[in-house]
Assembly symmetry: C2
Homo-oligomer: 272 residues x 2
Amino acid sequence: MLQYSSPYSLSDPLRAEYLAFAIEVSQTGGAAALPYFRASAVVQNKLTDGGFDPVTQADKAAEQIVREAINTRYSEHGIYGEEFGHEEGNGLTWVIDPIDGTRAFMSGMLHWGLLLSLFDGERPVLGVMYQPFTEELFYGDGRFAEYRRGASHVRSLQVSRRTELSDAVLATTSPRWFEGSQRAGFDSLENAVKLTNYGGDCYIYGMLAMGYLDLAADANLKPYDIQAHIPIIEGAGGIVTTFDGGNASMGGVVLASASEVLHQAALEILCR
Amino acid sequence: MLQYSSPYSLSDPLRAEYLAFAIEVSQTGGAAALPYFRASAVVQNKLTDGGFDPVTQADKAAEQIVREAINTRYSEHGIYGEEFGHEEGNGLTWVIDPIDGTRAFMSGMLHWGLLLSLFDGERPVLGVMYQPFTEELFYGDGRFAEYRRGASHVRSLQVSRRTELSDAVLATTSPRWFEGSQRAGFDSLENAVKLTNYGGDCYIYGMLAMGYLDLAADANLKPYDIQAHIPIIEGAGGIVTTFDGGNASMGGVVLASASEVLHQAALEILCR
């Protein structure tokens, strides 16, 4: 279980070094998951006979390779991953979701990716999202954020900065994840915005950072589901909190917005 | 408005020629839409100033190029497209959805594509779906279906052939599109299956043909939203009908399934 502790102080050169490492290892990890994506029926049956489904195999393969790289390079750091749990460290912890969007992955759909962040005890100081099938990379450190596809195409990530709820496009992975008063709040928000898209997992946070969605809300998130997105979205000029306006690093019920004004307006409706 | 008429009789060599043409022109059309996808804020503002949003521009550019190719090569054929309407022909009609999944396209998400089919007055005899960003191509003629990515990777499309509702994965683009008794039926079907995914547009039909989804249901479909998928899914061993079991070529409320047994079980619940 990942818990809050005193934040670790991080110099700029070290932060840049860690981000470069995170980008590299996310690509290696994603590449390890890719052979299991849309695996043929023969491969799937072979995997299932062994007691593992392809997505579990892919999850484990990707997380294992990321953990090994971290242990080799930064043995003093902690690791917290979806598949293999928590290893304590010196106050900095790498947080891994080897495949965010497992249902999409299982269904052969495209909206999934590997998420990696570095948690300082209070906040994620950097985050990376990588989709190996499309070779799309999103990364940021809270002060800047970029997108890269393949070797060449790089663009700076900038949120839309939209401020009016009635103009805003909202996305959620699934409205069914909200329960009780959360669901009522989400339904009210849906009625207040221009348009709501369903589905998407990690991609809705990527597209919010890129400026094509204005609000993203999800319930029941784990720390590894949301941490990587926070430094990317903040680096792109956006904001991420829990529904009660608190630190979203530990997950839960989370709202991301393209501007502070929009965020406050949406939180007010969600918590009414 | 596209209407039923006597089916046009089509020889095997002609069918193969039309399919090869459809594949080629779908790629050309998709390539014309791609520059508008995730266009930068500058491009978007420039486009919006002119009174057009990027997705309308992309839709028109793609449909225009497909129409021109058809008029040049098969001037005797009819054309029915989302953007530029119906041109009558000799009994064969090319049916075009230049961008299926416009909301996904506008939001920078990946589940969209160009759809092209050839309608013989009763049924679509061939269909193509192309996503230019991922270079994914799905095509079939009711007797076979294939998937190709880029220049090299080709695979035969085969549905899962699953027969048990309790094992089945269902997908819908949005449950909100179902109204009244349709919605009640859909909710019952959702309760009967293993899992339901939301979102996806044309991709859910592609993944059904590839064997990773077992049921796909959508409401309010136009002929150009569904026709291309029918020969692909049937060529992959699946089945597509309206909720009342009829010909789905004109759209409406549509169910696609990975086996006849599953289809009948699902229709029974939907129409209860």
